[in-house]
């Protein structure tokens, strides 16, 4: 009887916590909205710089109705996705290679860091001449920026794999692919996912900055056009769209984390 009562109590407590957790991001957003409304209503910051929610909502419905928002969003989404695939893909593969052959890190680090730390303006002409003004140049800028977090976290993740477990896989005569799939990937997953969280949020910036260099459509173009037309509500709409994209990507990674790291949660509880 007593035990049964406890089971019940235990699981309702857990359920309540899960619901709270699911709701909390929305509560935050609601809170931010209220804050925003308050700030603009009391003119704490000039409405020129921070337009009230109502104006932004109007701009949003307008941009939605005439298809502007959808068009630019699709462009940026496409660039981002390819950029992410490319950058994260190369980052993970190279990270794996470096983890296996540390000398590679020493050899490649000058190139890699140079890539990562050079602002795009500096090689904008090259970018346009090599990749044109179409999506490919934005895919490149996105790939360049998302590549690095994927890389360094892959290195650390793979390097932290427990040596005794490596011995175990060796003793089972597991080849590189099986060792990767059954040992290295699951073991490095938490760290790799952290890298992907960074990559996911940087991807938006990468695509948008690529669009700044020269582009006909995309959220980066839209934000500059809106800005140059002093259409601040549309700027905010565009930025919020970027945020929603970034949040969705982040959420996706968080979901994978939640799904695959059951064991870590169970061990910690």
């Amino acid at each position: 009887m007593q035990t049964n009562g406890k089971v019940a109590e235990f699981s309702t407590g857990r359920k309540r916590q899960i619901i709270l957790r699911r709701l909390s991001p929305f509560l935050t957003v609601l809170l931010l909205l209220l804050l925003w409304q308050g700030v603009t209503e009391r003119q704490i910051i000039s409405r020129i710089l921070v337009p009230p929610p109502a104006d932004v909502y109007a701009a949003f419905t307008a941009a939605l109705a005439d298809g502007t928002l959808a068009k630019h969003t699709m462009t940026t989404l496409g660039e981002m996705m390819y950029g992410l695939l490319l950058g994260v893909g190369i980052g993970l593969v190279l990270g794996y290679a470096i983890a296996k052959a540390p000398l590679l890190e020493y050899v490649l680090s000058p190139i890699i860091v140079a890539f990562q730390s050079t602002p795009i303006v500096a090689y904008a002409p090259l970018l346009i001449i090599w990749f044109g003004t179409g999506p490919s140049s934005k895919i490149v800028t996105t790939a360049v920026i998302v590549f690095f977090p994927a890389l360094v976290n892959a290195i650390v993740g793979i390097r932290s794999v427990s040596p005794p477990l490596r011995d175990l896989m060796r003793s089972l005569n597991a080849g590189p692919w099986l060792t990767f799939r059954l040992l290295e990937l699951p073991s490095a997953l938490p760290v790799i996912l952290a890298g992907l969280k960074t990559s996911a949020t940087l991807a938006v910036i990468g695509a948008v900055v690529g669009e700044f260099v020269g582009s006909g459509s995309g959220l980066g173009v839209l934000v500059i056009m809106a800005r140059s037309q002093y259409n601040t509500p549309l700027v905010v709409v565009t930025v919020l769209t970027m945020t929603v994209i970034a949040l969705s990507l982040y959420g996706l990674v968080a979901l994978v984390e939640w799904r695959f790291l059951v064991w870590q949660r169970r061990a910690a509880s």
């Binding site: 020129i48 346009i128 020269g214 006909g216 173009v221 056009m225 002093y230």
Partner: protein, 352 residues
């Protein structure tokens, strides 16, 4: 008083009048201790609009756009008398009839800003549509992109990029390109150009202060126009990367002193313009293109600034600009009376 003037872009010889105004105490004699800051154009405008700064330099187009979205700024001094944007093309391409643009690849930084307005004006006066050409958003990379043949023509600032392209061509970096042709937007329509803006609030509170500022700016601009060598020298402390080896500095210092004497005789405007050209030729015998590139940019700019009466803008140029922007569908709802967008009255006041 301490006064911020917000300039656009980055430190550049094109802002020589402001550097000279400070170096030669023009601003301080008018009672201003001026600090210059460089920002992007929308930021300049918004900061003036919310009175974080009293003075800013933006293009007239920005004033109309911003006013249509509730920013009450007033344009009080037209600095560039000619709209500085132009279309650059290979000289062997015949564009005497603008209709020949049809089907060409035209480079533009993006669908925003002065270049876009300029292009639209050109297309309109040629009876063309944006869809009639192949528009390429190439960012601010026109010289390279044009030189390497990725576009047939490009929208540029007349005082800078064509010069760069010519230099590149002279160095044999542009394939078989030997010279470029320029089509000034100003040659088709008079559009309002860059100038000084203030906030409506300031205008109502202290018009006298604005008059003093306008006067000072006009004086500084006049000195720059009259004595470019002095202006170039005054820019050196502000623009780190200006070519300035010792020989050039010596030559310019001499030239500035000579010009001072020459000016004592109250030469006419065209005589002064001739003296500038003479100086340019004299220097080009002594120095190579790279060393003089930025000085030439200054001289080209002066050609866009120079006028009989500095600072005036007329309603027609504002209307032309507004019509262009309306055509481009860029304006917001709150477009009020164009008369409220600018004012020439401070020029008159400061004359007294």
């Amino acid at each position: 008083t301490n006064e911020r003037i917000l300039l656009t872009f980055i430190p550049n010889v094109q802002f020589a009048p402001f550097y000279l105004g400070i170096q030669h105490d023009v601003f301080s004699e008018a009672g201003f201790d001026v600090a210059l800051e460089h920002l992007q154009e929308p930021e300049v405008l918004d900061l003036v609009a919310v009175r974080q700064a009293n003075y800013g330099i933006v293009s007239g187009e920005q004033v109309i756009l911003a006013r249509s979205r509730g920013r009450d700024v007033v344009y009080v001094f037209e600095w560039f008398q000619q709209y500085p944007v132009a279309l650059v093309h290979a000289s062997d391409l015949d564009l005497s009839d603008l209709g020949a643009l049809r089907g060409l690849r035209v480079g533009i930084p993006g669908r925003f800003g002065a270049s876009y307005s300029g292009l639209t004006t050109l297309l309109t006066s040629a009876g063309l549509n944006e869809t009639d050409i192949e528009l390429n958003e190439i960012g601010f990379n026109a010289p390279e992109v044009f030189c390497l043949g990725a576009v047939d023509a490009a929208m540029v600032y007349a005082n800078n990029e064509p010069l760069q392209i010519r230099n590149l061509a002279a160095a044999g970096e542009c394939g078989d390109l030997d010279d470029v042709g320029l089509i000034m937007v100003a040659s088709q329509v008079d559009l309002v150009s860059n100038g000084l803006i203030v906030n409506r609030g300031l205008l109502e509170e202290s018009p006298a202060q604005i008059a003093r500022m306008v006067g000072a700016l006009r004086d500084a601009l006049q000195i720059t126009i009259d004595n470019p060598a002095a202006a170039y020298l005054a820019s050196l402390p502000y623009v780190d990367t200006l070519p300035a080896d010792d020989a050039l500095v010596v030559a310019l210092t001499d030239a500035a002193a000579q010009q001072q004497e020459f000016l004592a005789d109250n030469p006419t405007r065209s005589e002064v313009a001739a003296s500038r050209r003479a100086l340019a030729e004299e220097l080009s015998e002594q120095f190579d293109g790279a060393a003089l590139a930025q000085f030439h940019v200054l001289l080209n700019s002066i050609d866009l600034w120079d006028a009989d009466a500095l600072g005036f803008s007329d309603l027609a140029s504002w209307e032309a600009m507004r019509d262009t922007l309306a055509l481009m569908n860029l304006l917001g709802e709150e477009l009020g009376d164009l008369d409220a967008a600018f004012s020439n009255e401070f020029l008159a006041v400061s004359d007294e």
